[in-house]
Subunit: 457 residues, 2 copies
């Protein structure tokens, strides 16, 4: 009798598992098919980036984009939508920058420059000075005050194309942009110009945030397009005495009110336990922000739409978050975590999309061993849709502050090869995003959220 029972129990477990497996496989396909058969996402992205480009925090467009998102989320059928108010820095670029190489040997040449975010401006008179080229802070230090004082420091360390994953190349070059100005100011430089952080050789200057070290003088910081960076470097080889004219009219205005927008699809069993899915609504003011992070915004909204369209009711509440101010000071990220902490919210997981809208190839996970094992056990479903890289690593800037509460963090990884061709530049426009690649991103995140909701972590 006991023997028969054992068989029955084992058989039941086997059947239950078999059913779960088939069911998950089917649901995975359903998410992907639904996304791939609906041109909604690309149409929304087009509307967002063409009507509300240059959505830097503190701009009218950043707020208008949130108001538009609010309407879209209501139409899809979010159960609730609310705002998390916060203050944001308000950096304004002002009149377009100018840059010119002036050489007694080679002549003069206008170059494509732009101010880095947070930089002070030169004012309308600009700065004219000789130039020293360095690759890194060690070279700068070796030159010392004697050779740097009164000069413009040209940081010309290219992103290393050897890395397969371009974010690694970015990581290896980004400190020129974020800290270059203050490092150069230590030795008396009057301005810095940074080689644009892209692997492409083109004419777009790529901006991005820089930070001042409060112990040294603030000097204006620019980026120059890679094409002109190569030329400037070549000209310097012929004429070490050439000078550069740089002009920017940017300034920091008083902080302004802004907000994160949060939409919820209420959980049936655990309405007070959250799975956050988000991207950032702000983007650089020289850009339409199609990949960065229009794609992440549309991915996130489409996750909610997919659950609604497929009539899948989650057990936990799924929160779609449009974070404000990822680019300047991450105020939205800080506010979201601050409120989560204050309210003692239970967060099951958070998934961020902020690496563009290309074909998804994986998820990077900042999670415990046991969580990682569980997610790896779902690989077979993801593999059918080209997602093979379920790896441990960083997540994203906007969900990062949840880490202190032990929340498992996920970042979708689209193919990164093209990303920095667009990043923080005028090249990040609607036409650079492909319909199907965007759809696949939404479906991947939606299915990950579904599995987390169903099985927990």
């Amino acid at each position: 009798m006991k023997y028969i029972f054992t068989i029955i129990i084992f058989f039941s477990i086997y059947c239950a598992n078999a059913q779960v497996t088939n069911n998950d496989s089917t649901i995975c396909s359903t998410f992907f098919k639904q996304a791939l058969n609906d041109d909604w996402a690309i149409a929304q992205l087009e509307y967002l980036v063409k009507n509300y480009p240059e959505r830097l925090c503190g701009t009218k467009n950043s707020i208008a984009a949130l108001e538009w998102s609010d309407k879209v989320l209501k139409n899809i059928g979010a159960d609730s939508i609310f705002r998390q108010e916060l203050m944001v820095p308000c950096w304004k670029r002002g009149i377009k920058e100018k840059g010119k190489i002036i050489s007694k040997i080679s002549g003069t040449k206008n170059i494509n420059v732009c101010a880095l975010g947070n930089s002070i401006g030169t004012g309308p008179k600009g700065i004219t000075a000789n130039v020293v080229e360095v690759k890194n802070f060690e070279e700068l230090k070796a030159l010392g005050t004697e050779k740097v004082k009164g000069k413009i420091v040209f940081f010309n360390r290219a992103m290393d194309p050897s890395f397969y994953y371009t974010f690694q190349a970015y990581g290896g070059a980004a400190n020129q942009r974020t800290r270059g100005a203050s490092e150069a100011a230590k030795y008396g430089a009057v301005a810095v110009v940074i080689r644009s952080l892209t692997l492409s050789t083109d004419t777009f200057p790529h901006t991005g945030v820089m930070r001042y070290d409060t112990t040294v003088a603030k000097i204006p910081a620019f980026s120059v397009c890679t094409s002109n960076a190569n030329e400037l470097s070549d000209w310097l080889k012929n004429d070490g005495q050439l000078s550069l004219y740089l002009e920017s009219n940017c300034e920091m205005l008083p902080e302004q009110k802004s907000y994160n927008l949060v939409a919820e699809l209420k959980g049936s069993d655990f309405p007070n336990e959250y799975i956050t899915v988000g991207g950032h609504i702000d983007c650089w003011d020289n850009s339409d922000g199609a990949h960065d992070d229009g794609a992440g915004i549309i991915h996130s909204i489409e996750v909610l739409k997919l659950f609604k369209d497929l009539e899948i009711k989650p057990k936990h509440t799924i929160r779609i978050v449009m974070f404000m101010d990822e680019e300047m000071d991450q105020r939205g990220a800080k506010k979201y975590a601050e409120i989560a902490g204050k309210n003692n919210e239970k967060h099951i997981a958070a998934i961020e999309s902020d690496r563009g809208g290309a074909t998804p190839v994986g998820f990077s996970m900042d999670v415990a061993d046991s969580v990682y094992k569980k997610v790896i056990s779902w690989s077979k479903y993801f593999n059918n849709y080209g997602i093979f890289q379920l790896i441990r690593g960083g997540s994203g800037v906007d969900i990062g502050p949840l880490k202190k509460f032990g929340v498992p963090l996920f970042a979708i990884m689209p193919d990164s090869q093209r990303y920095f061709d667009y990043h923080h530049s005028g090249n990040d426009s609607f036409k650079s995003v492909n319909k199907r690649e965007l759809q696949l991103g939404s479906a991947s995140i939606a299915f990950m959220a579904f599995m987390i909701d169903k099985y927990g972590l």
Copy 2:
């Protein structure tokens, strides 16, 4: 004593294996680093497609492109270069096609059409007739002669976006293009117009080859861009009596002499055993042929360049083949296999690149079980460069005829999401190919060729 010997033997095997493994891993990285640090490939692609666009077999540009390839291969340092002469069909599009919808209810509208390759033309008077829309041959059959006779048949079956791998979607829709005209002619149709085979909704008509069934009348065959296909379908719902004006001036001229170009890097140990790496030099006459198959040509040439740059001397001869006439009648493919058979050549493997220049994600292999197992054992190296899909499946049209000799066949699989946005249309231009994605393709094929050369199959 024996015990100690056994330990030593085991230790030696362990060390040997460890060394081999490290070595292959290093060589893999070396191939990829070399490709990613050299902008040679994208510059060559730009030169090829901008100077020799519209390289349909039988055109001057198809020959000029081969002559250019010959010079490039010589400069790189091919050990020998030779031609395989052959005859190619010579289909000429003539004056640009015209298409117009004429409706008494909705008015008139010009539409973007193009003749399908191999189609007869309407001549300058064109054809004006009523239209019947069908999705497939079953619907056509159901309409029968009564409803089809004297009409233009509009095949409007869209590629199914549900498939992850877009070549499957293409496969499911392509028979409209290849056989639609003769199927419609059976029921007395006067012409056919086919929805362009793309998943994008755009204004480019996509061409491609069609074949006539010799038992029925030849009627002119066109494709219409997807945007106009949707409109035509909508208009037909309002006005079943609308007519379509179609005009094409294409014709088949006498066959012409052409050739495959073959460059060799001689094997040190087995100079008469071959690993073929190839793509096709011809492309459609409405296109620059950047992805199809400029990318495959550059991939193939760069494989040779990588071996030369890295001073890796293969044991077997690596043959870089620029196949002529993949698009119309695959004469180059047939000739290459015919000569291989006649000369009783020993082919170790053949690798084709004819699926575009996007980020490589895998290889499709038409190989025996034992070969497949061996290649799978190399996965770890490929995985580091995003290549996870080492799958069994079809190879490619140009190396396909080698199958009868039992040659293991490989096709590189770039990410397919964007491919049909470009395929066989004016949209397949230089700007649609990304530098790094192209470089990764060359490195992937080079490393596969290296491993096949080193370990055999």
